[in-house]
């Protein structure tokens, strides 16, 4: 059945809270639910398990660790991706480290939801894509669903996972429709999806960028250039095998990422592919990313910095030469 992105996510939360009463949800304004993803949960599950919180991100993230260590499966809605920085001590110094530091004693089945990405004139404090920072921390799984089905399936997987999982929602995409399988639908972490097959190049697109990459791939196909279009779906763990196999076939790689370029996921993927599939490569792997700037408010200026179908298409064409 076709569903909106936010609705699919909301459905996953309903189903998992129904299934397991140790799943609890808290965050700022989860009751009013600006994004619609947590709508209705308070009415359904009550104020014991669904809690509006004070504006105290650092503590909320630390509490998720504590509640998980004590046997619950907390879901924290952190609102915007930039607030990952606000809560970073609890994330980078506790959540990501504490399992190792306790010699594996502590198991942390927790999920953190945050909405990331630009394109809506929200300016520099509400537009970051924080996945590269999370990837560098180690110890945290990171999902970046690009469509309603993956939104539902990855969130259910995250909630059932015994490890800390970030679930990064594509900003401004809440109303987009997509087919969501009926019944129980779970998407495992670490399994990329191949959205299109082609022999000429491998196009990897992350989260928000999948949509643009699809358009680019369609345009390229119309011009006779066929690409493998790969959506990794989770950045940790990252399905390098699928990407490498594709590059072995195509010999060319373009990675599209809404992160700033330096130390981006795109750079990571290009580095690994350059290291592991060098002999298969016919051209240097290419990145289409945001330059190392803060996103501006002015819409045209902002859009010009975020990868778009034209830039992606041009990059693939340049590679093929």
């Amino acid at each position: 059945m076709k569903k909106r992105y936010a609705a699919a996510i909301n459905e996953a939360l309903h189903e998992e809270m129904e299934r397991d009463e140790r799943v609890i949800l808290f965050g700022e304004d989860v009751e009013a639910s600006m994004f619609g993803d947590t709508a209705g949960l308070l009415d359904r599950f009550g104020r014991r398990r669904v809690r509006n919180t004070p504006i105290s991100e650092q503590t909320l993230a630390g509490m998720a660790v504590g509640a998980a260590a004590a046997g619950y499966r907390p879901v924290l809605h952190l609102m915007f991706g930039n607030f990952v920085y606000t809560a970073m001590d609890a994330i980078g110094n506790q959540m990501a480290r504490i399992r190792l530091m306790t010699g594996g004693q502590m198991t942390l089945p927790l999920t953190v939801i945050a909405v990331y990405g630009g394109g809506r004139s929200s300016a520099a404090q509400h537009s970051d894509a924080p996945h590269p920072v999370l990837m560098n921390l180690g110890g945290i799984n990171v999902a970046m669903p690009a469509n309603p089905a993956d939104g539902k399936g990855l969130l259910k997987a995250a909630i059932r996972d015994d490890n800390p999982c970030f679930f990064l929602e594509a900003g401004g995409r809440g109303a987009e429709m997509g087919e969501v399988p009926d019944g129980e639908h779970i998407v495992p972490f670490g399994a990329a999806s191949v959205l299109r097959e082609g022999k000429d190049a491998t196009l990897v697109a992350i989260g928000t960028m999948v949509k643009h990459a699809r358009v680019a791939a369609d345009n390229l196909a119309a011009a006779g250039i066929e690409v493998d279009l790969i959506d990794p779906r989770t950045m940790v763990p990252l399905d390098y095998a699928t990407i490498l196999a594709s590059v072995e076939k195509t010999g060319r790689l373009v990675v599209v990422d809404e992160a700033r370029d330096s130390c981006s996921a795109a750079s990571q993927i290009c580095a690994v592919v350059a290291g592991q599939a060098f002999s298969a490569l016919k051209a240097g792997p290419a990145r289409v990313t945001v330059p190392d700037v803060s996103l501006p408010y002015a819409p045209v200026a902002e859009k010009s910095l975020i990868p778009n179908p034209q830039r992606i298409e041009a990059r693939v064409r340049a590679l093929i030469g």
């Binding site: 105290s56 991100e57 520099a124 330059p291």
Partner: protein, 336 residues
Amino acid sequence: MTKTNLPGPAPDQQRAMLRTMKLIRAMESRLSQDSLQGLLPGTVHLYIGQEAVAAGVCAHLKDDDKITSTHRGHGHFLAKGGSPAAMMAEIHGKDTGVCRGMGGSMHVADVSKGILGANGIVAGGMAIATGAALAAQLDGKGGVAVAFFGDGAANEGVFMENLNIAAVWNLPLIFMCENNGYGEFTPAHTVTAGRLIDRARAFGMPCHEVDGNDADAVWATAAIAVERARAGEGPSYIEAATYRIHGHFEAEAVMLKKPYRPAEEIEEWRGRDPIAAYVARLTEAGVVTPEDAAGLDEEFAEVVEKAVADAQAAPLPSNDLAASLMFTNRTVEVMA
């Protein structure tokens, strides 16, 4: 509550505050319309109903004094002397904007006027104000810094950190809390233990409560705190009770499934509109005539009209601008 039998503002000062409030209201009423009609790029958080706080506090400040503001920052910007035209252009995302269209509504700033910026991070401006207060203390010229923030921001831990450092170092800083009863769509009392003012009291600084819809009362209270700061006697905390008449942001009626505050509550606060009340008080006292008040409305209607027209006609910032603004001495390049 600080009683209005404190030394109050002189008639000139009252007229100036009325101007400030009317200017803010005129600008934001237009922003509200334009936002609802989809004419603005981003979202706007309006200060309508809280104007007396910015007006009463900023009346005491000079260009050298520093303020930091919040996501709800238009009022502070204008009250501290920011240009309406440059703010309007900013919110329209134009190159003529006070931040060249890079910041928008949530980031209006004019460093030359001591406005260190509205801020999209709740409580994010506070430490910036504390740093500016440290600078003022080192300068030793009697400068002061004011951190404006909301009841919601008072639940961010940095609030306590800043209270502590300001108190320990005796900084010329004013913690100006605008308690409007809500953070986004959550009533403050459901997420706030105890009284906010007691948090500040724990650090041993003078703490004041004031009716945030009474410009004279705010003025009188701020006078004490500003004087204390200028005299090198340290920080103060002021808490103003007020209300966001328009709610959290202009899009909320569309975005939310159901109302989160009682209609009667909104009506009640509309009845306590700080500007209407002030006009009534000043007219009664003979400080302004009804014609003066109407004249201000006309004057600012024109200011707003021109600001909007200019903003609409203004050029967009170039696509290269952001890359050139990140650092003082180089343009960010992309290593493809």
